[in-house]
């Protein structure tokens, strides 16, 4: 299943200094709640992404602690204030400790 997990980022590549830009992120992930049962009545083990973090040139910009109440393929949209050119780093942490990563360049000027 792990190979199916694919992060996607939609964010502008350029911004004016001080501009507030919207970042949209989506990661394909089942977000299995641990509440459901399969055909044989066995509980399907919980598997969710429990944390999402975005850093901007290494500085923490936004993060979210997710619970099973978040839909499958978690979509998170948020804003950052563009103040310097550099890189946005995105990390998603799974229950089992797997970390999925993505980056996006941002040019400010």
């Amino acid at each position: 299943m792990a190979s199916d997990v694919k992060p996607r980022i939609k964010a502008p590549e350029t911004a004016k200094p001080g501009e507030v830009i919207e970042i949209k992120t989506l990661i394909s992930h089942p977000m299995e709640t641990g509440q459901r049962k399969d055909d044989k009545g066995q509980t399907i083990p919980r598997k969710i992404i429990k944390n999402f973090t975005c850093t901007y040139n290494g500085r923490p910009a936004f993060s979210a602690d997710l619970e099973p109440a978040i839909s499958a393929n978690p979509f998170i949209a948020f804003y950052i204030k563009a103040d310097q050119s550099g890189e946005l780093q995105f990390t998603w942490t799974d229950d089992d400790g797997t970390v999925y990563k993505a980056e996006q360049k941002l040019t400010v000027g």
Binding site: F62, P68, I70, P74
Partner: protein
């Protein structure tokens, strides 16, 4: 005839009492047999763990459809009225519900780099229930908003 009438009436009374008792027992067992659902109380308990103090109503906005046809993905937009400067910003927004199997939904952490205290997420709602958001500001003040979302098809599986 009169005798028969009386006995019938008393039988009926007994029958009714018996039925009432049986249906009460049925209701009681059906409540007990249900899986533990989040209640307004457990939602408040979780909030008490997440933030210290009593939030005041205001400054927080929960944008969501009034009726969600599919409880599996309900878009929620959370925003807080804040200038988001280095000294005055929103630290976190905690979201809980009172009708899901567990009350927790998400904790969003903002900072001065956010520029705008707003985020959009998609959540699962098991039934028609209240979504409660509490914002924690950099000065320690707490603000809250509650919104009821009607759900036609629940989204927590079987």
């Amino acid at each position: 005839m009169q005798e028969f009438d009386r006995s019938l009436r008393s039988n009926r009374r007994h029958l009714l009492i018996g039925l009432a008792g049986a249906s009460f027992a049925l209701v009681a067992t059906s409540i007990l047999a249900r899986p533990a659902l989040a209640t307004p109380q457990s939602a408040q308990e979780l909030l008490a763990k997440l933030v210290k103090g009593t939030p005041k109503a205001g400054r927080v906005t929960i944008k969501a459809p009034e009726i969600a046809e599919n409880g599996n993905t309900v878009p929620l937009t959370l925003s807080v009225d804040s200038p988001m400067t280095a000294t005055d910003y929103v630290k976190a927004v905690h979201v809980v519900t009172d009708g899901n199997p567990a009350p927790g939904v998400v904790s969003l952490h903002f900072g001065p780099l956010s520029g705008k205290a707003e985020a959009q997420i998609r959540v699962r709602l098991a039934t028609t229930e209240h979504v409660i958001a509490v914002a924690e500001m950099s000065d320690g003040s707490l603000w809250t908003a509650t919104r009821e979302i009607k759900v036609t098809i629940g989204g927590c599986g079987g």
